[in-house]
Symmetry: C2
Subunit: 179 residues, 2 copies
């Protein structure tokens, strides 16, 4: 594999999903990529719920639309719900730091791995960080105090890749210095 | 690019670096991969310092060894220091959430992207989350209240890949359910 940079540049936040259903086998590969992600003390502070039932997918989409935004998520064909789990750190580290000190960063890596594998399989993804947690807990039969990280909408892109929005990023020299 | 899953499975935390120097061009590609990572509101709440001066690399290694651990980081040939920057969120979101609500997760994705590009270029990486922040600020001429995320040690692996430690992860069915 020599073209990770190409994949990193190609993946974008898809905001226009087609009607084509998403194969369960592909979703499993995406979760597998997330499962392999690194984490502090290898604690793997994550659990995932993959929502594929069409009615439930529709309900999950609604939990992201409370601010009157994210209309396009109604067209998602599946959702990955990323749960933050308790992180069991090594004893020497656990005696100095909160158990969850590395969790958010670890979850960020695992979630991006899911999205990168999706991209490599031709699927579009969009992460959504704002949603009605109480409603989502009710839908997924999870405790009201469940810690959430993000939900990720999944589907096939409706448009050709070349029509995807350009990737806007700060210039290289603005964000890095070599010393 | 069809083998992201292979790359995700291959990348591991390298704890045995060779004496071979690391090319600046490769480090720049790794930073480019991080630069392209997604972030909440596309805020890109990151800055990077790449430490390549041998004397400074050695000093940075020492900041990670305060607990009597991380001896192997003395053999790193470069360090990526990942800084958490202020995240400028969209106004509607900024009115409801703390500016840094998504930052740690975003930094996790950007840092993993750096490591995945390194792996694809034959470089080994190891993330270290514990280090003497005051000392690092002094070494890098950064404010004492600088927010840090992680440092990442970089170098060529001393051993053949097949001798790398096996990747231990929780079983697939333990971390995911489909509904």
């Amino acid at each position: 594999m020599s073209d990770f940079l190409e994949l990193a540049g190609r993946r974008y936040s898809c905001r226009n999903f087609s009607d084509k259903p998403v194969e369960r086998e592909k979703l499993e590969k995406c979760v597998e990529a997330a499962r392999l992600a690194p984490s502090g003390c290898n604690a793997q502070p994550w659990k995932f719920v993959v929502v594929v039932d069409p009615k439930l997918v529709s309900e999950v989409a609604k939990t992201t639309q409370q601010l009157g935004i994210n209309d396009y998520l109604s067209k998602a064909k599946a959702f990955l719900v990323v749960l933050e789990d308790h992180a069991k750190l090594m004893p020497r580290i656990a005696s100095l730091y909160d158990s969850q000190v590395f969790a958010k960063g670890d979850l960020g890596g695992a979630t991006l791995s899911f999205c990168l594998e999706a991209e490599s399989l031709g699927l579009g993804t969009c992460m959504a960080g704002m949603f009605d947690r109480a409603k989502l807990s009710e839908l997924l039969d999870l405790p009201l105090d469940q810690r959430y990280f993000l939900v990720v909408a999944v589907g096939y892109p409706a448009r050709e890749r070349e029509e995807a929005r350009p990737k806007l990023r700060k210039p290289f020299n603005e964000i890095v210095r070599f010393i």
